[in-house]
């Protein structure tokens, strides 16, 4: 079976190579995949990319997709399963200047101009937040977000959606350089748990070769562990820099730090699938009619494999030796 021998695998990311893919890139560049007998092509993503579609078309074997993609796919009978959840906290947050009064409760959003990407999941999240706070669109002013940040820079928009760990840092720096400081508005802190990037593969793959899936996931999670390990920062940074040439080192360090908090917050394990968060995500999408009827998301969450992989990895991370291969191979 494939699991015994070396296998070629294509792994489609969600977005361009950057800190949000730290672990994936680490596993690739540090030879962890090879060590597991996997020859993985890691492909950058982008807004016009959809890992789930590529799974079906056979262009990819594993991929990273956001929860709303997964749920949409499921509601359209796409045979996709989740084998790990990369972000425990959704990095999608809203940046705002501290000249704006601190937003402590949802009602503080009232009257503000809020940037959203129409059709994007930031819109979904914001609507969820508003309804959670007993408000709706009329209580705020939406502003359509596009490639450039000028409206936020020029103060026409109060809150601007960013990926906390990537753009968030960059923008914070820019404004800092201009003597301004910013805060971030984190939906999670206000009870909206909307799952972000997760590792997905196809039903077919799980059934055909669960061992391979396990092996891949182990390698991947190991990559993430090492990428997130504070004492391993130099290596992690070095690797990310190879792929993300456009981000200066100091920024990168901050980005990595911030990513740690999202991927591995206290009391969680890396890759852990937060079933409740998934349920809430589904509920939100259902409430906003983004899916016609429930998809029973938990049926597609491969908790078993994930936990299994987690134990193996944390074990041989501690032993710092790769016992896994001997164990598995006959």
């Amino acid at each position: 079976p494939a699991s015994a021998t070396d296998v070629k695998i294509t792994y489609r990311l969600k977005w361009l190579f950057n800190v949000s893919a730290a672990g994936d890139l680490y596993a690739d560049a540090d030879g962890i995949f090879e060590a597991h007998g996997l020859y993985v092509t890691v492909k950058a993503g982008g807004p016009e990319r959809d890992a789930i579609k590529e799974l079906e078309l056979g262009y990819a074997d594993f991929g990273v997709a956001s929860a709303d993609q997964v749920i949409r796919a499921l509601s359209k009978k796409s045979p996709v399963v989740v084998i790990a959840q990369l972000f425990q906290t959704n990095p999608l947050q809203w940046v705002y200047r501290d000249t704006l009064s601190n937003i402590q409760k949802l009602q503080d959003l009232k009257k503000h101009t809020i940037g959203i990407t129409y059709g994007g999941n930031d819109e979904t999240i914001m609507r969820a937040l508003l309804s959670a706070g007993g408000m709706d669109e009329r209580d705020v002013t939406y502003f359509s977000v596009r490639y450039d940040y000028t409206p936020f820079y020029k103060g026409r928009v109060d809150l601007w959606p960013v990926y906390r760990n990537a753009q968030g840092i960059i923008i914070a720096n820019k404004l800092k350089a201009a003597g301004e400081t910013v805060r971030f508005f984190d939906p999670a802190k206000h009870g909206v748990q909307f799952v972000a990037n997760s590792v997905v593969t196809s039903q077919r793959m799980i059934e055909k070769d669960p061992a391979l899936v396990l092996r891949f996931l182990c390698a991947l999670l190991k990559g993430w562990h090492l990428a997130m390990a504070p004492d391993n920062q130099e290596n992690a940074i070095g690797i990310i820099q190879k792929f993300d040439t456009d981000t200066p080192l100091p920024t990168l360090i901050r980005q990595l730090a911030s990513t740690r908090l999202l991927v591995h917050p206290a009391g969680t394990s890396i890759g852990e699938i937060d079933v409740n968060a998934w349920r809430q995500t589904e509920a939100i999408m259902l409430a906003q009619h983004l899916i016609p009827k429930p998809v029973e998301i938990e049926k597609s969450l491969e908790l078993g494999i994930q936990q299994n992989a987690h134990q193996i990895v944390s074990k041989n991370i501690l032993e710092k030796t790769n016992v896994y291969i001997e164990k598995e191979s006959p």
């Binding site: 078309l57 796919a73 009978k77 796409s78 000028t150 409206p151």
Partner: protein, 250 residues
């Protein structure tokens, strides 16, 4: 003529669908990758009203955009038609601006014009005017001696006349290009809406893309295509009429 255009468009569109569906069923792809015919029909019922309105909205911007770009192209080709310093300068400028992908220019445009209608219009015009410019430059920089000789010899060949003569002699070519450029005006507007506006079919397409809802996109394409076919037909008819009028039923 128009009827032919229309049903030919239908044929093409259906052909496209056919191909997609074949792929779907041969590769056994889920609704998520390629929707089933039924789904598409359901979606039609759901969005046709909104989309046709959107398309119309986009279309009206496109028309204005096209008019502007025609003006622009005429203007530039009049300056650029000579091999003079100014001529080449104008040309270099026009060409370079064109080389820059709108998406890259967009931020700058928004800084200068703010977002909304104006930027939308400008982007549409920018995408549409270049082909016009190219053919007009070609036409305007080529003397028509048998006609121009007299005016030149008697010192009557002011640039307006020169332009008029060359345009008239190439009426047919101009008509083709202008009619065709409608397509680009439409595409341009859509792109503009895609990256900028909060209205129009381009905007709807972007949302459909985010929600990876191919059936909506297919429907959008249908409305775009049909609107355009009609407009095309109209423009060609107009061109013929204009030709008849100007050249006296020649």
């Amino acid at each position: 003529m128009l009827y032919r255009r229309l049903y030919q468009f239908f044929i093409i569109y259906l052909l496209g669908l056919a191909i997609l569906f074949t792929i779907k069923y041969t590769l056994r792809l889920s609704e998520y990758v390629i929707p089933a015919p039924a789904t598409v029909l359901l979606t039609v019922a759901e969005v046709y009203a909104r989309y046709s309105k959107d398309v119309f909205d986009t279309f009206s911007v496109a028309i204005i955009g096209q008019l502007i770009s025609i003006g622009l192209a005429i203007f530039i080709s009049i300056f650029g038609r000579h091999a003079s310093w100014v001529g080449s300068f104008v040309k270099v400028a026009a060409y370079n601006v064109q080389a820059y992908p709108i998406v890259a220019l967009a931020p700058i445009i928004f800084i200068l014009l703010g977002d909304g209608f104006l930027s939308r219009l400008l982007i549409a015009a920018m995408i549409c005017y270049f082909p016009l410019l190219l053919s007009m430059l070609g036409i305007m920089s080529e003397p028509i001696t048998e006609v121009e000789h007299f005016y030149a010899a008697t010192g009557r060949l002011r640039w307006q006349l020169e332009v008029k003569i060359r345009a008239f002699e190439n009426l047919h070519k101009l008509a083709t290009v202008i009619a065709g450029s409608a397509t680009l005006a439409m595409a341009g507007t859509i792109v503009a809406e895609f990256i900028a506006a909060n209205a129009g079919i381009g905007y709807s397409i972007r949302i459909a893309l985010y929600q990876s809802d191919l059936s909506k996109i297919l429907i959008a394409l249908f409305f775009i295509g049909i609107t355009l076919s009609c407009y095309q037909g109209f423009l060609e008819w107009l061109g013929q009429q204009a030709g008849k009028l100007w050249a006296g039923n020649a």
